[in-house]
């Protein structure tokens, strides 16, 4: 069972939840930009939430499966068709072999995840299937997918994989599962602001900059990729000019570079940095960041670190409930 890539699109890579436990040796965690979409996508097809998926960046990719497959698309940014028939995000789908799947632009987001029942069959490197483009390791030969690549699927199917599949009665090119998630599962993507906790060096910036940080919008520049986004807007001016001794940074850290621009670190960010950290994106709002594309604007809203932790715990509880619900429904 395999997936044939016809057109690779802008940037298409295999990602899971990242390569943990190697940050002390400088290895970025990497993994899906939108971890929430990846986790839900896996649950929809009956996989472990940590299974590797394919991450697409905006539109352009085309592909087909060489055998019938149970799949799901999660995330945002494209209209999806199977043999020209539109199919929705956030639903389990059954696609017949050799039906052409196309991701068309719709500009509502940036990253789409394709999960497949059983997962993709690629080797773990340093305990992860995530592609690290800088070190050229993991995923599919350490590189982005290209036209003509044939990605094998794993054959092993869990009972939940099998049960989800058995409920499809597909006579057409594609079938959409007759069950669906509560829209609440993905409606939070429409939230018009991103919540942040003030960074450790927040006080290094002058009052004017601090005020603008929360009252103006910032635009994602063209110099943005899986490592991070340069944010355009009011320059962040420092009142404390000393150098920061290099220390750890993480996904969601907003650093201010010497040119007074903000740089939001994302999945492939380096593990340490020497620029002052003005703010930290709350983990629950990182999926919103993952769906920002160059040219999009956003605003920041302050929350406390305790609120951020509570939001995180609540989100994890919701995912746990979703996992239990799907597990029970297809037990």
């Amino acid at each position: 069972m395999s997936l044939r890539i016809i057109k690779q699109g802008l940037l298409t890579t295999i990602q899971d939840l990242g390569r943990w436990n190697y940050q002390a040796i400088g290895m970025p965690v990497g993994g899906a930009m939108d971890e929430y979409a990846l986790r839900v996508g896996n649950l929809l097809v009956g996989n472990d939430e940590k299974e590797a998926c394919i991450e697409f960046t905006m539109a352009g990719a085309q592909m087909y499966f060489e055998e019938d497959a149970v799949i799901a698309f999660t995330g945002a940014g494209v209209r999806i068709s199977v043999n020209e028939q539109p199919v929705p995000y956030w639903r389990a789908l059954f696609v017949k072999a050799y039906r052409l799947i196309v991701l068309h632009p719709d500009f509502t987001g940036c990253r789409t995840y394709l999960s497949v029942a059983g997962g993709f069959d690629c080797a773990e490197v340093m305990h992860s299937k995530s592609t690290n483009l800088q070190a050229r390791l993991g995923g599919w030969h350490g590189r982005a997918l290209q036209a003509n690549d044939l990605i094998s699927q794993a054959y092993k199917q869990t009972p939940v994989n099998q049960k989800i599949r058995s409920e499809f009665h597909c006579t057409d090119d594609v079938a959409i599962a007759h069950w669906s998630l509560s829209p609440l599962t993905y409606e939070f993507y429409r939230q018009p602001f991103i919540r942040v906790v003030k960074g450790h060096e927040w006080d290094w910036f002058d009052e004017y900059s601090q005020e603008k940080f929360f009252n103006e919008s910032f635009r994602v520049s063209n110099q943005s990729n899986r490592m991070g986004y340069r944010l355009e807007g009011t320059p962040m001016n420092r009142r404390r000019k000393e150098d920061l001794i290099s220390t750890a940074v993480t996904k969601g850290t907003i650093q201010v570079t010497p040119d007074q621009n903000m740089f939001l670190l994302m999945s492939d960010a380096q593990t340490t940095g020497g620029y002052p950290r003005i703010a930290q994106i709350s983990i629950v709002d990182l999926p919103l960041c993952a769906q920002l594309k160059p040219g999009d604007s956003t605003r920041f809203k302050e929350i406390s670190m305790t609120e951020a932790e509570q939001l995180y715990l609540d989100r994890e509880k919701e995912l746990e409930q979703l996992k239990d619900t799907i597990g029970l429904r297809f037990a």
């Binding site: 436990n21 940050q23 400088g26 220390t247 715990l313």
Partner: protein, 240 residues
């Protein structure tokens, strides 16, 4: 004596413990000891640590920490914070930790050292003197960052202190040895880089196929030895 320490929030999954506020070998030694102690006595939900010059960042899974009954506090952050405050008091005054010492061969031939001539001119000294100074100190690996396996090492003799390149080089050869300020480092693989390149090692610094993928770890002691071009090519496993 333990440097004054404080802790702060980095993210919902990470807390930082900071020792003092300077780059200092004694403080770094405490960082390495505390890092060893933490990894030796992990708490429930502990993921990993990232030691740096005067900080250790501790990554954890907030869910098991929050539900842990062994740790005191109202939030996961408080629980980890309390754990750390307590652990620091257990840090031995003169801990016996194994310090790994390595000798790394470096070829300082002009072919391998695109900035050596510029550095000599900048410092108004001879190339021989630069090689002599660079190979006579023992360097501590302060942290690994920038790229997988890239060691930030110091201290470089202040007589070798030069600024970084104004515009980073687009492609640095793997194994290139660079200097910047009072630090020296080695680029594990090809890529962009802003340090002044004064030599190149044939030794592999990063191999993802190995159980331990890197040659150097924070706290290691490194000495450079000068080798010829011929020796470099004999030792290089994958000539480029």
């Amino acid at each position: 004596m333990l440097a004054p320490f404080s802790t702060y929030f980095l993210s919902e999954k990470a807390i930082v413990i900071q020792l003092g506020s300077t780059i200092d070998d004694a403080i770094h030694h405490q960082v390495i000891n505390l890092n060893a102690l933490l990894n030796h006595e992990p708490f429930e939900g502990f993921i990993e640590t990232v030691p740096a010059y005067n900080t250790i960042t501790i990554y954890y899974d907030p869910l098991p920490v929050y539900h842990s009954t062994a740790m005191k506090g109202h939030t996961a952050f408080e629980k980890v914070d309390n754990y750390l405050q307590n652990l620091v008091t257990k840090l031995p005054q003169n801990p016996v930790i194994k310090i790994k010492s390595l000798s790394i061969p470096v070829c300082y031939d002009a072919e391998m050292a695109p900035d050596l001539k510029w550095v000599a001119k900048c410092l108004n000294t001879s190339i021989e003197n630069i090689i002599q100074l660079h190979t006579s100190s023992i360097y501590t690996v302060y942290m690994i960052g920038f790229a997988p396996g890239f060691p930030y090492m110091g201290r470089l003799d202040s007589r070798l202190s030069v600024p970084r390149k104004e515009t980073p080089r687009a492609k640095v050869e793997p194994g290139s040895v660079g200097i910047a300020g009072e630090q020296t480092g080695i680029y594990p693989f090809a890529g962009p880089g802003g340090w002044q390149l004064i030599g190149r090692t044939p030794v592999t610094l990063f191999d993802p196929a190995k159980e331990d993928p890197v040659l150097l770890h924070p706290g290691d002691q490194v000495k450079f030895t000068s080798i010829s071009r011929e020796e470099f090519y004999q030792m290089q496993p994958n000539p480029s």
